[in-house]
Structure formats: structure tokens, C-alpha cells
């Protein structure tokens, strides 16, 4: 029952045919041709993919940058609007203050205080130009404007109350 497996294969013709001497070169040429064809196909695919990725990347980058710039410019615009509103109100309160303040010394002191605060504001504004995304600097800028407005409101309230009490006293004691 035992058989040599090589004897079994010898029966088949295909195994008895001798390969031509050039078979190695032929096989190699065929392989090379196949590889270069598929490589070319692969390269084109890769280039398309790479180009698409780069395009997508730059497009997203561009829109994000535009978005950030837009957000930044929106914030700067908002700050400018707030600043304008505050400055208008400060100016209005300053003129109201001038109409009720009869003391030159008082006006001079408040003028100096407001100038000092404005100087601080300019300093902080320089920081804001460098760092437009810093909400802490924005808060400080608004607080500075608010301090100026509050100063003027407080002193007017003080003078008005004092005048009211005086008028009442002078009217009741005459």
C-alpha cells in the first residue's frame, strides 16, 4: 500500500514537460509589467486622495481662520460700540455735573480723576490690541468706563441731596 508520492506525480505529463530556459526572465517581465500597471493606478489614486485631503484641510483652515478673524473683529466692534455708549453717557453726566457744581476746585479734582482713569484706559487698550481675545482685559476696560460714570453719578447725587436739604432748611427757618 505504501507508495512514493513522487511516483504518483510522474504519471502526469505536465510535470514531465521541461520549462524553457527563459522562463525566469519571462516571469519577471510579466510581474514587472503587472506591478507598474497597478502602481500607476495606485499612485493616481493616492495623488487624488492627497489633493482632496489638502484641499479639505486648507478649506477648513481657511474658514476657521476666517471665523476666528470674524469673531475677533466682532468682539472688537462690540467693545467699540460699548465704549462709544459709555463715553456718550460719561460726557452727558459730565455736562450735568458742570451745571450743578458751583465749586471750581471740585470740578478741577474730578477732571483730574477722569483724566487719570482715561490714561489707565489707554494703557489697558494697548494690551487689548495685542491680545484681542482676552476677556479679562475686556472686563477691565468696561470696569474703567463704569467707574468714571459712577463717579459722576455719585457726586451729582451728593450735591443734589445737599442742595435739597439746604433749600428745605432755608425755607423752613426764614
Amino acid at each position: 500500500m505504501k507508495q512514493d508520492i513522487r511516483d504518483l506525480f510522474r504519471k502526469y505529463e505536465v510535470f514531465n514537460n521541461k520549462l524553457p530556459d527563459t522562463h525566469k526572465q519571462e516571469f519577471y517581465d510579466k510581474l514587472k509589467g503587472f506591478n507598474s500597471k497597478t502602481n500607476k493606478q495606485l499612485n493616481y489614486k493616492n495623488i487624488y486622495r492627497l489633493a482632496a485631503t489638502l484641499l479639505l484641510f486648507f478649506a477648513v483652515g481657511y474658514f476657521m481662520l476666517q471665523g476666528n478673524l470674524k469673531n475677533q473683529s466682532e468682539l472688537v466692534e462690540q467693545i467699540e460700540t460699548i465704549e462709544q455708549e459709555y463715553l456718550l453717557n460719561i460726557n452727558k453726566e459730565w455736562h450735568n455735573f458742570l451745571t450743578i457744581a458751583k465749586d471750581e476746585k471740585l470740578v478741577k479734582r474730578y477732571k483730574k480723576r477722569l483724566e487719570d482713569l482715561n490714561k489707565d484706559y489707554q494703557e489697558i487698550s494697548e494690551q487689548f490690541k495685542v491680545d484681542t481675545n482676552n476677556i479679562l482685559i475686556v472686563e477691565t476696560l468696561i470696569e474703567n468706563l463704569n467707574t468714571r460714570l459712577q463717579l459722576l453719578k455719585d457726586i451729582q447725587e451728593h450735591i443734589t441731596l445737599l442742595n435739597q436739604e439746604n433749600e428745605y432748611y432755608e425755607n423752613t427757618t426764614i
Partner: protein
């Protein structure tokens, strides 16, 4: 098995501690000094603690504690610390160029401590101990965000607690900067600071010239006759001041526990004093000043003030009040007692409280007040 479990728990515990809190020493330097040595500290942003040195050396230490902070981000924080200290011709110069801006401090302080107005405020006498506890409470490290929430939602407790709880539940990454300067007692110290939190410990004996623009000055005691302290656009809190000159400009929140023998000048500020002691001289413009208590032997108190509101609470001892000036309203127990004439603008003695001659006599209050209000509660 139990021993193994215990060891594992111990290992986890220590690893967690190491991850939660890590201290990095960033800068460390010391200088030998003598009686002629002087020092200048130029600070900009950040926080600094000034202590007394136990020997004749000036020490500079900068440590940073990181809590739950990722290692990759620590480097950026450490790189922000830029301290330079050098000694030339027996003069030490320390410059802190660290890029930790405390701009936010001023905006938050501005929101928290809006200048008081006549309409809103009610005045309750506080003891010296209460003022001291307020100062101690304010000097504790706490979240500005929680303080902000407490203020913003003071009328909506449900919303306030909900937001505070939400914030407290969050795992927080924290960077705690410990910048400590130890100064020998014989050394004259000059501090020029902007947007900085300065904390002065009780044992500091050095003569101090300090200027702070923006930020916060917290002091346990300022006890040197030669001290000159100028604070502008900042918060000022001192448990005790004895001697020297103090100038406050636009101090939205000023608290002094005890004040003795001080020349004080204030502008556009709110100031509360727990205990006014001997021989103080105040001048002021556009302030709100509340004196909660006079000591039993305050001796003499002189106040020259314009466009201000002066509040004080009735003394338990015998005293004299001489009020001089014009265009001023005197309000006793919420009733107008006296209004000075305004017509000629000449200063006159417009109000007086005479000595009763009974009991302990504590001193004389001399007010020179124009365009102001005196409230005696």
C-alpha cells in the same frame, strides 16, 4: 490577603496624592545684608507674600503648586515666571516680570465693591473683632468666580446655590503660585507694584515705602513710624496700623481693624475702621468713612474733609465734638439735626457736643467739614 489589599490601597493613595498636588521650585535666591542695605521690589501682576527674615539675609522663593494639572501644560506656566534679583552697591533690586496679569482683579473688585451710595446703604455698628474677622475672611484663598456668583445672584438664592454647587462638583485644575520674600528687620524696603496681590505678614518690622496701583494689599500689621504707603485703584485691608503715612485713592473696599497715630489721606474711597485709637489725623475728598468704634483713650482725632460722608457711632464714654466748616448736614439717629449756612462760604463752628463731665473722658473729635454729611448713629 488583607496585607496585600492594604498595600495596594496605600500605593493608590500615594500615587493619587502625587498626581493631585505637585510643587515646583522655580526660583530661589538669598542676599546677605547689613544696616545700610536697601531693597526695591518691582512687581507687576501675580501675588507676593512679604515676611520677616529670621536672620540678616533677604530671601526670594518662588514655588508653584499644581493641582490636577496635566504635565504637558506645566511647562507653559513655569515659563511665565520671570523673576530677576540682583545686588549692586549694597542695593537689592528684584523685578518680577512674570506674565500673570491681574487685570481681572480690578474688574471683579469693581463689581463686588461698588462705591456706596446714600440711598442704598444701612449702617450697623461693627465691633473691632467683626472687622478683623471680615479681613481674615477676605484674605483666605477663595474662588473669585464663587464670590462673583454670590454677588450676582444675591437676590436669587436658589440659582446662586445651584451654580455654586455645579462649579464645586467640577474637577478643577489649579495653579497656586507662592512668591515669598523674606526681609530682614533692619532693611528699608521699597515696593512698586501694579495689579498685584500683596500680603504682608504680621512680623514685618522693616521700614516700608509702598506704592500699589491696582490689585489688593492685605496686611496683618503695619507698625513702623517711617512707613509711607500709597494705594490706588485697589482693595486695602489691614488688621492693625501703627504710625506712618497712608494714602488711599479710589479704594473701593478699605477695612482697618485698628488705627493708631497715623496720617491718613483718602480720595474717592470707601473706608471702614474697627477701632480708632490715639492721635490720628485724616484728610479726605469725596469719601465714605465709617468709624465703628473709638478707643476709650483716643485722645484727639482731627478730620479735614470735603464732599464726603462721615459716619460714626455714639461713644459709650464722655467726649467732645467740635464741628467746623460750611455747607454740611448733621444727621443724628436718621434725623437732620443741623444744616450749616451756605451763603457766604465762610467756615464757622456749626455743631458741638459738649463734655458731660460724667464718667471716663476719652478725647476730642475735631471735624473740619465742607460740602459733606455727618451721620451720628
Amino acid at each position: 490577603m488583607k496585607t496585600l489589599q492594604f498595600k495596594l490601597w496605600l500605593l493608590i493613595f500615594f500615587t493619587s496624592i502625587a498626581l493631585i498636588a505637585q510643587t515646583e521650585n522655580i526660583y530661589s535666591k538669598s542676599f546677605k545684608t547689613n544696616a545700610a542695605t536697601t531693597a526695591l521690589l518691582k512687581l507687576s501682576g501675580g501675588s507676593v507674600e512679604i515676611q520677616s527674615s529670621l536672620d540678616d539675609k533677604l530671601y526670594v522663593e518662588y514655588n508653584v503648586d499644581f493641582e490636577n494639572y496635566p504635565n504637558r501644560k506645566k511647562k507653559a506656566v513655569i515659563e511665565k515666571v520671570q523673576v530677576e534679583a540682583k545686588m549692586t552697591d549694597n542695593h537689592i533690586t528684584l523685578v518680577d516680570k512674570s506674565k500673570f496679569y491681574n487685570y481681572r482683579l480690578n474688574s471683579i473688585f469693581g463689581i463686588l465693591y461698588r462705591k456706596d451710595t446714600l440711598k442704598e446703604k444701612t449702617y450697623i455698628q461693627k465691633s473691632k473683632a467683626l472687622i478683623l474677622s471680615e479681613i481674615k475672611d477676605a484674605s483666605l484663598t477663595k474662588s473669585f468666580y464663587i464670590e462673583y456668583l454670590k454677588h450676582k445672584y444675591r437676590n436669587d438664592i436658589k440659582k446662586r446655590d445651584e451654580l455654586i454647587n455645579k462649579y464645586n462638583r467640577k474637577k478643577k485644575r489649579r495653579v497656586i503660585k507662592n512668591f515669598i520674600i523674606k526681609v530682614p528687620k533692619h532693611l528699608d524696603l521699597t515696593i512698586d507694584a501694579k495689579y498685584t496681590i500683596i500680603s504682608i505678614k504680621s512680623d514685618l518690622k522693616s521700614k516700608l515705602s509702598l506704592r500699589l496701583d491696582g490689585g489688593k494689599l492685605m496686611s496683618q500689621s503695619l507698625n513702623n513710624q517711617g512707613n509711607v504707603i500709597k494705594v490706588k485703584d485697589a482693595v486695602f485691608m489691614a488688621e492693625s496700623i501703627d504710625g506712618g503715612e497712608l494714602s488711599l485713592n479710589n479704594v473701593k473696599k478699605g477695612l482697618i481693624g485698628r488705627i493708631n497715630n497715623v496720617k491718613l489721606s483718602t480720595e474717592f474711597s470707601n473706608l471702614e475702621i474697627g477701632d480708632l485709637q490715639k492721635n490720628n489725623r485724616f484728610t479726605g475728598f469725596s469719601n465714605s468713612l465709617v468709624i465703628h468704634n473709638f478707643s476709650d483713650n483716643f485722645n484727639e482725632f482731627n478730620l479735614l474733609s470735603e464732599y464726603s460722608k462721615i459716619h460714626y457711632f455714639k461713644l459709650n464714654t464722655d467726649y467732645v465734638l467740635n464741628a467746623y466748616g460750611f455747607n454740611t448736614v448733621v444727621n443724628v439717629d436718621n434725623n437732620i439735626e443741623k444744616i450749616t449756612p451756605t451763603k457766604n462760604g465762610e467756615k464757622t463752628e456749626f455743631f458741638k457736643i459738649k463734655s458731660s463731665g460724667k464718667g471716663l473722658f476719652s478725647g476730642t473729635i475735631n471735624f473740619d467739614i465742607t460740602h459733606g454729611f455727618i451721620f451720628i448713629h
